[in-house]
């Protein structure tokens, strides 16, 4: 089957074949492409970016991401979790707002440095 690697903007077109329980990949420019293809066939994983609400002035919402990948099938569960979080104070970039999400060892961290801007 054909896959497009999403690891980096190169977007390598991968030709993937599964034989005897092993995954064979052609078309990848680097090893990460092979790893991606293997995961995509067995347990597709995604890193997710989203928003959580805040009560801090000037920031109705703040951007967050998973600091690792979670199973693709759990993306909407993660979104539900994001809906329930409210940040109530200015946080520096990289602050953990939820740890070990959905039974993984992945955390949800902020990706914007909240400054009280001089407006």
């Amino acid at each position: 089957m054909e896959l497009v690697c999403i690891v980096c903007p190169n977007g390598c077109r991968l030709d993937v074949e599964q034989r005897d329980g092993r995954v064979f990949v052609v078309g990848n420019k680097c090893k990460r492409g092979a790893d991606f293809a293997t995961a995509e066939l067995t347990n597709p994983m995604r890193s997710v970016t989203s928003l959580v609400k805040t009560t801090v002035r000037g920031y109705p919402v703040i951007s967050v991401k998973t600091d690792g990948e979670i199973p693709k099938s759990k993306i909407f569960q993660l979104m539900k979790l994001c809906d329930e979080i409210t940040v109530s104070q200015p946080l520096p970039i990289g602050s953990v707002v939820a740890s070990g999400v959905l039974g993984t060892d992945v955390n949800l961290v902020t990706t914007t440095n909240m400054e009280i801007a001089n407006e």
């Binding site: 896959l3 497009v4 690697c5 999403i6 690891v7 980096c8 903007p9 977007g11 077109r13 995604r46 890193s47 997710v48 970016t49 989203s50 928003l51 609400k53 109705p60 919402v61 951007s63 991401k65 693709k72 993306i75 909407f76 979104m79 970039i93 990706t111 914007t112 440095n113 400054e115 801007a117 001089n118 407006e119």
Partner: protein, 412 residues
Amino acid sequence: MKYDVAVIGGGPAGLAAAIKASEGGASVLLIEREARLGGILKQCIHDGFGVVRFGEKLSGPEYAYRFIERLKAANVQVSLFSFVTSAVKLSDTYKITYVCKDGVKYAECSKIILATGCRERTRNGISIHGDRCAGVYTAGAAQNLVNILGVMPGKRIVILGSGDIGLIMARRLTLEGAKVVGVYEAKSTPSGLTRNIHQCLHDFDIPLYLSKTVTRVFGQSRLEKVEISDVDERMRSIAGTEQLVDCDCLVLAVGLIPENELARTLNVPLNKATKGATVDQNCQTLVDGIYACGNALHVNDLVDYVSESGEIAGAHVTLQKTERNLLPITTEGKLLYVVPQMLDTNSDFGNVVMYFRASEELTNQRLTVTACGETIFSKTYAKLLPPEMERITVDFGKARALGELTVRLEDK
């Protein structure tokens, strides 16, 4: 106040340019029109930024943050929420007038780096007719509404244009609970990066319709439906193919245009293909002392290259002004454009960074750079797509004679 360099725009290009210029010893004023640095990256909360530069997948704000932190350490005067109202040439310097909350300010500088980014094409620019209802937004405006203001532009969404922002917004709005009915693209091939088609559309079963466009919008107060038509190979809608699609929001991701109003007032010649300034390998425009970088120069698809062009400009402004000897770099074959369009033979031309786009989807191509007919660079490409910009570095020093510079794309 007097500065060596004024950088206009505090997005990724301006940040990189200001840091580089400052690190090279120049006194730098960075003028940013918004209250926070980072430009459009502030609202690009998705990841995928910085893979080339940092080998990591960063979100837009994280990518910007890395530069903002470096900027803080550098000796750069930053003026936020400041808007340049005019830039005029004095005898040997430029006088910049800008307004900010403290009043009308003046700065004198010997060089200006334009890092003013780009703007989006609008519904009028692509001739969508019909009602004047709420719910029709450019992708950037929709992105701002969601990611900065925290509000939803609609619940049932049609996206016109398969450019990267359109694809990103399709995923973003889906994640936030909206139903994206489809992404419609007038061209016969997608405009965005292939990986974005994959991870933004396929992952969420969002259909992509090619060779179709929105021809009319309907709605009294909010958008109620849009008319979709097939288009022919010249992108004109075909009568009789109209279908109506119910939706309360139309997101337009129909292209970006370099923002060059200031360049225009400084009489900087612009290039028809890029809609940005014509520049040499140092990002210097045809007007001495005026530089252009980032998306103001040409619309990039990767921020890494936006920063790179900022750094090229930032590095060169610290050098002594010299008389330039500009040779045009011409293009041949199916090339949309090549940047830079000029080579200054009086400055370093050893490792010239060049960017190009193919004008159509091509396979098995060879790109050659020649000087006086002699090939000084050659590279083959299995596949080239117009949405995916390519970058090469060319050593013009290899040429025995510098003249008749040509970049040619041809079948292998």
